[in-house]
C-alpha cells in the first residue's frame, strides 16, 4: 500500500503548496453561502428555513469547482502517463487521489459548516446533523466527482461540462443530506438518512474508482 499513501501524500502536498488548495474551496463555500442572505433578504425565519439547503448546495458547488484539476493538471504535465504506468492498479491510484481530494476539500468544508449554519440561523441540533451528514456524504462527492473529472480530462470546456455531468449525480446526496439535517433539526431521527449517505459513500468508493480509472485510461489514448 506504500504507493497508495505516496499518492495521497503528494496530492495533499500539491494542494497545500499550490495557492492554498483547501483555502480556496472553503472561501468559495463561505462566499456563496453569504450571497444568499444578500440575495434572499435578511429575514431570519426564511434564512433558517432554507439554511440547510443553501449550505448543502454551496458545498456541492465548492467540491465541484476544485474537482476540475483532479486529473487535468496531471494530464497537462504528462504526469498522468506515469501514474497510469505504475505497476499498482490505476483504480487504487484513483482512490488515493479521491482520498486526498476529500482530505483537502471535504474536511475543511465540514470544519466551517457549523459556522455557516449559525450564520443562517440553524438550530443547534440541525448543525450537529449537518456535520454528521457532511462527514458521511462528502466522500461520495469526491468519488462521483472523480468520474466526471476523468471523463472531462482533456476535453474542450471541461469545467462547465464537468458540472453538467456531476451535478445531477449529486442530487441524491443533496436530498438525503438535507433531509438528515431537517430530521435532526425537528427532533426526528436522522438515522435512516445518515445510513443511506454512508451507503452511498461506500458504494461509490467501490464503483467510482472503476469508472474513473476507465475514463482516465481513455484520456491517455
Amino acid at each position: 500500500m506504500t504507493v497508495f499513501w505516496a499518492v495521497v501524500r503528494r496530492d495533499l502536498l500539491l494542494a497545500f503548496r499550490q495557492g492554498g488548495g483547501a483555502g480556496m474551496a472553503v472561501t468559495f463555500f463561505v462566499v456563496t453561502v453569504t450571497l444568499f442572505p444578500l440575495g434572499v433578504g435578511p429575514e431570519p425565519n426564511v434564512l433558517a428555513r432554507i439554511g440547510s439547503g443553501v449550505v448543502w448546495v454551496s458545498a456541492l458547488l465548492a467540491a465541484l469547482l476544485s474537482l476540475d484539476r483532479l486529473f487535468q493538471a496531471d494530464l497537462e504535465d504528462g504526469g498522468l502517463d506515469l501514474l497510469s504506468l505504475s505497476p499498482e492498479p490505476l483504480e487504487i491510484i484513483v482512490l488515493a487521489k479521491c482520498l486526498a481530494h476529500w482530505l483537502s476539500t471535504g474536511l475543511p468544508l465540514i470544519a466551517v459548516a457549523p459556522l455557516l449554519g449559525l450564520l443562517m440561523g440553524m438550530p443547534g441540533a440541525g448543525i450537529g446533523g449537518l456535520v454528521l451528514a457532511m462527514l458521511l456524504g462528502t466522500p461520495a462527492l469526491s468519488l462521483i466527482g472523480a468520474v466526471g473529472a476523468g471523463l472531462t480530462a482533456g476535453v474542450r470546456r471541461g469545467g462547465v461540462l464537468l458540472s453538467l455531468l456531476v451535478l445531477p449525480l449529486y442530487i441524491p446526496i443533496l436530498i438525503f443530506g438535507v433531509s438528515a439535517v431537517e430530521a435532526a433539526a425537528t427532533g426526528l431521527t436522522a438515522r435512516p438518512h445518515l445510513l443511506i449517505l454512508a451507503a452511498m459513500s461506500l458504494f461509490t468508493a467501490v464503483l467510482a474508482p472503476l469508472a474513473a480509472a476507465a475514463a482516465v485510461r481513455l484520456a491517455l489514448e
Binding site: 504507493v3 497537462e76 504535465d77 502517463d81 506515469l82
Partner: protein, 210 residues
Amino acid sequence: MTFSGENLACLRGERIVFQNLGFELRPGGMLLLLGANGSGKSTLLRLCAGFLRPFAGRLLYDGADIFSQRAEHRSRICYTGHLDALKAVMSVSENLLFWTRLSGGDAQRLDEALDLFDLGGLADMPARFLSAGQRRRANLARLAMSRAPLWLLDEPTTALDKASCARLFGLMAAHRHAGGMIMVATHQEIEGADSAVLPLDDFSPVEAVF
C-alpha cells in the same frame, strides 16, 4: 527476453497511421524510430507502453501478448514522453522520489542519478525555476533509477545541450550492456551504431482506405 511487434496497424481519429509494421528487440538491442512528422513515432511508443491498443496485429513480450498481462508489462517499462511530468511546486528530488516510488524503482540511487545529469546543485530547487534543458534532464534522471528492462524514449534529446546528450548516450549504452532494451523516437542523431532502424514512413498506408 524479447519484445516484438507483429503486423501492427494503428488507427488515430479514424485514420490509419501505420500498418503492417513489425519489429523485434532482443536483450541489449536498440531500435531507432525515424520518420517525418506525423508518421507515428510517438504513437508507436504509446502503443508499446500499452496506452493504446493496436487496431490490428500483436505486441508480444516473451511470447505473451502485453494486453493479457497489463500489470506485469507496466512494471517492465520506463517511458519518457514529450512532457516532463514535473510538478512546479515540488523540488527536483521530491519529484524524482515520487515517480521512483510509484514505478517501483530504486530510490537509493537518487544521488547517483542527480549527479549523472549534473543536477546535484538543483536537488532542492522547486521545478518551476528550472530551464527547459534542466527540466528535461530531471525527467531523464528517472531512467538512472529505474529497474525496468525496456526503455521507451520519445525524443529524449530535445532541449539538451551537447554535454547532457553525451551523458544520456552513456547511460543508454550501460543499460544495453546490462541486457536492457531501448526504443527511441528521434529527429536528431543518436549515438549507438549497432542499433536497428525502423523507418516509419515506409509503413504509412498508400491510400487510406476505409
